[in-house]
Symmetry: C3
Subunit: 113 residues, 3 copies
């Protein structure tokens, strides 16, 4: 069986971003499940998916492991960041709230670390 | 397809209440989904559904847009507030925890901003 | 009908631990539902399931009422605590993230107080 899990990352604190990415990595490393993993980022959480973010290396490792990183377009538009400031491979979604709803409707478990 | 989404609002910080209501408004505005939206309020979150709350205007707009605002009876009983202090249209539920459980059983996606 | 609800407890603040356990107790006390209740603890949340935790008595009452208290093994290994430091009856799970995923797949509603 393949499980599906979506993490919600709406906070900008550096320690919080690292925690969420560590939680996602722990899930990938847990051999009792075979989980497809996504992280949906909005609000302050955008700080963690910038190319120069303190958590950028963690985020890159997740992307390399096949984790889907989604960023809310509403959030992006509310900042001075451009798409070029985001890590390669990050996907922009119309809104984090719609994406979190769709993912749960598609069978993803929701975790807000 | 009509989606269903329930937001959980358990914190009293003014900025947090405004964030949750803004998230709900963003979901309503997102044309990629057609979501029925509810907000379940407990604990400090009750501060945001008082008639004189800083976020009262946001809450009223959500109510006008058809969003269901539920307040936990346990929370209400633990405060000095009366039903008359709450915004018109707010619904009182036996407990936030039971309501959040029921809503998820009824197909609502859960979001804790 | 029997509902199922899993609470997620990832924070170490004393007030937060007491809040989560109180939320779980409120759900058990709500006669409009007949919910099977679990609490999954990780990160700082481990502080609340130690034998000498400020919230230990609340946790013991939940265990006595049939609530399943799960602690993340990754978390335990990242601390200086031993299994003997945990309340009797606490169950250790391979990872909180996998357990939260499994529980939601098994029909549990998820609540992050």
């Amino acid at each position: 069986m393949t499980e599906k899990t979506v993490f919600h990352l709406p906070e900008g604190d550096e320690s919080y971003g690292k925690r969420v990415f560590r939680n996602a990595a722990n899930l990938l490393a847990d051999t009792t499940v075979d989980s497809t993993v996504a992280v949906v980022v909005n609000g302050g959480g955008i700080e963690h998916v910038l190319t120069d973010a303190p958590a950028a290396e963690q985020a890159r490792q997740l992307l390399d492991a096949g984790v889907e990183l989604c960023v809310c377009q509403n959030t992006l538009e509310g900042t001075d960041y451009a798409v070029a400031d985001l890590l390669d491979g990050v996907r922009i979604v119309s809104s984090a709230m719609a994406e979190l709803t769709r993912k749960q409707n598609d069978g993803y478990a929701y975790i807000r670390p």
